[in-house]
């Protein structure tokens, strides 16, 4: 028996592993362009959040239809990976269906479950293709998805459909060969779904069937490996990053904006307040707020790579609903695209951040960030706890504190607050006038 197939298998595996390793290192570097931020307190709460939100898909179930279809693909992804384990062992050992003799009837049941899931994936992927391309569900057909994002989404669905067809073809031909008593093929006690397509292959010769079976087998395993590489270039990364992304969720109240301690010393000095740490030299102050991705936290950038562009955030955004340019999903896409651009440039020995471009200005416009009502609908809507609002507010800080280029009416509001301690221009001495009338009114 030739060991050539085994060697080939090993080679394919090694090549895929190499590409994935290189790309994962790149993604890691891109994420850590962001500033440090400690997010590893409350570990119990973090594990719980990850289990509920990522593993348990809790937030997906706000929209039942898509949630159910997505759940089928998700369960299939996890369960069919068990079958891939057998593929790998078979591939390396040169065996065929190595688990079948050990598991007996259980193996047949397992195979039937896998086939059912394969069908479920087919149905879901077709449904998703229809939603995207025929029904053109609003959030899945917006302008910001034109080009690569839309192609990426369709490719993922088509690849999954093709891979599932490969499994079913493999099983169908495998069982015909087994029934004909061809060597190495093992008769299983009925594979329901693949038997439905067996009539397509019944008239074929043994050698044609063996070719088809082997082709499907190789196609499926190479397909899975190629898809794994593809995922690292795609929005589909969410299938892995959803887990760390939810683990590193913001556990503070959603209403709390991050404090800027670097400002507090100066404020205390202005107000003549002595503080304990004030004799220390001030910490090095970089830029106030965020102009580019390296001003953001690494969590913001991880959020961006975790985003699968489903658009639930944008669909709930009051600004977007009423026709403003702001789309929280686009904010996340902008952060990811800019981080990738800078990382690539740095890797190639290029200008990196000094390329004359920046996140704010070249990717995201002030018109977009100024339209945000900070309502947190986007954060609430995200099935994996991505926080576009945090990024928007950091960019607003840059605009206000570094450029003083906030909208004129905001600058007027700032001025009112500085001079009369209210966003409106009223005399501070009039603040208590509302009580005058009440103090003279007879109680009932």
């Amino acid at each position: 028996m030739s060991i050539l197939p085994q060697l080939l298998f090993l080679l394919v595996f090694a090549v895929a592993g190499f590409f994935i390793y290189k790309r994962v290192s790149f993604l890691r570097r891109s994420i850590f362009l962001g500033k440090q931020e400690a997010r590893n307190d409350q570990k119990d709460e973090r594990w719980k959040t990850m289990l509920l939100v990522a593993f348990g898909q809790k937030k997906m179930f706000k929209r039942l239809g898509p949630a159910f279809l997505h759940l089928l693909i998700y369960v299939a992804f996890i369960v069919i990976n068990l079958e891939v384990l057998e593929f790998v062992i078979d591939g390396l050992s040169g065996q065929h269906r190595i688990f079948a003799p050990f598991l007996g009837a259980v193996y047949t049941i397992a195979m039937n479950i896998f086939e059912f899931l394969a069908i479920a994936v087919l149905v879901s992927c077709f449904a998703f293709l229809i939603r995207r391309n025929i029904m053109r569900v609003n959030r899945l057909a917006m302008k910001e998805l034109n080009g690569w994002p839309a192609l990426d989404a369709n490719l993922i669905l088509i690849i999954e459909i093709v891979l599932m067809f490969a499994i079913l073809t493999m099983n169908a031909t495998d069982q015909i060969l087994a029934e004909r008593g061809v060597e190495k093929y093992i008769v299983l006690d009925g594979l329901f779904f693949s038997s439905l397509i067996q009539p397509l292959f019944q008239g074929m010769s043994d050698s044609t069937l063996i070719f088809l079976e082997r082709f499907s087998w190789w196609f499926h395993i190479i397909g899975i490996l190629a898809f794994s590489v593809y995922i690292t270039y795609s929005k589909h990364l969410h299938i892995f990053l959803a887990f760390p992304n939810t683990w590193y969720s913001n556990l503070k109240p959603k209403g709390e904006m991050k404090n800027m301690p670097e400002v507090t010393n100066e404020v205390n000095m202005m107000l003549g307040i002595q503080t304990e740490g004030s004799s220390e030299p001030p910490a090095e102050i970089g830029r106030f707020g965020a102009k580019d991705v390296n001003d953001l936290s690494w969590v913001n950038i991880m959020n961006a790579f975790s985003c699968t562009e489903c658009g639930r955030c944008t669909a709930e955004c009051p600004a977007n609903i009423t026709g403003k340019k702001l789309s929280p999903r686009k904010i996340m896409m902008d952060v990811r695209d800019r981080a990738e651009e800078v990382s690539k440039s740095i890797d190639a020995g290029g200008a990196g951040f000094e390329d004359g471009k920046s996140l704010l200005g070249d990717y995201t416009s002030k018109e977009e960030i100024n339209a945000c009502t900070s309502c947190n609908a986007c954060v609430e809507a995200c099935p994996i706890n991505i926080d576009p609002l945090d990024i928007i507010l950091q960019m607003r800080r840059y605009t206000a504190m570094e450029e003083s280029s906030s909208p004129a009416q905001w600058n007027a509001m700032f001025q009112n607050m500085e001079t009369s301690f209210s966003p409106w221009k009223f005399a501070p001495t009039d603040r208590f006038n509302w009580a005058d009338q009440l103090k003279n009114e007879e109680t009932k």
Partner: protein, 263 residues
Amino acid sequence: MSTYKVPTMAEMAASGESPEILFWVGCAGSFDDRYKAVTQAFVKILNKVGVSFAVLGPEEACTGDPARRAGNEFLFQMQAVANIQVMNGYNIKKVVTACPHCFNTIKNEYPALGGNYEVIHHSEFLQQLINEGKVALQGGGEFKGKKITFHDSCYLGRHNNVYEAPREVIKALDVELVEMKRCRTKGLCCGAGGAQMFKEPEPGKKDVNIERTEEALSTGASAIAVGCPFCLTMMTDGVKNKDREHDVKVYDLAEMIAKDMGI
């Protein structure tokens, strides 16, 4: 003749007293003509129930929320640190406010700057008073049996998970509470948060408050209840824009309770 009392912290401190709660009025509650009525209604309730309270009066300043949301962290902290100095000076422990923006900022953002207080929104406070039987409701009065919808304000709901207290207060009035499709965690903003209150919206096809008012009107409610000064302004403007101010009113929760109590 007995009149309503509005003691200030300064007066209280001068006479060696310390009230149970500080009622944080906020800028809208102090200066906005429409929201002053809410402040007055709430103070009447506090008087009637006999809650030991005081206000800061002229010593109060904006919490800094709109400055922070618009990006001016320095200005925010100037306001915040000064307010905290005043509040800590009076040794304040418990704060009640009718503004979800003040509520969120004092509750969640002042601790990092040295201001630690128990902070509750007036909807929660009213709910407590009703539950404890301290507010004796007349059974709805002019609201009895009417359809009323509640507009969730973002800074109360999504930001701080207060969804039930305002609803419990409304239900105590023996009215029919009708929900908008987008309510609670999915509640649609009125359009004023994040300092939008203080500038014109960016170009778009519609104003956010119109979108929200249309949704509120579609419930057939005769009154829209809110728990936030900005929401009150936005929804009132929306109702006017739709020419419905003659048959649909916008009220704050405190006003509804005060009306029912006949004060």
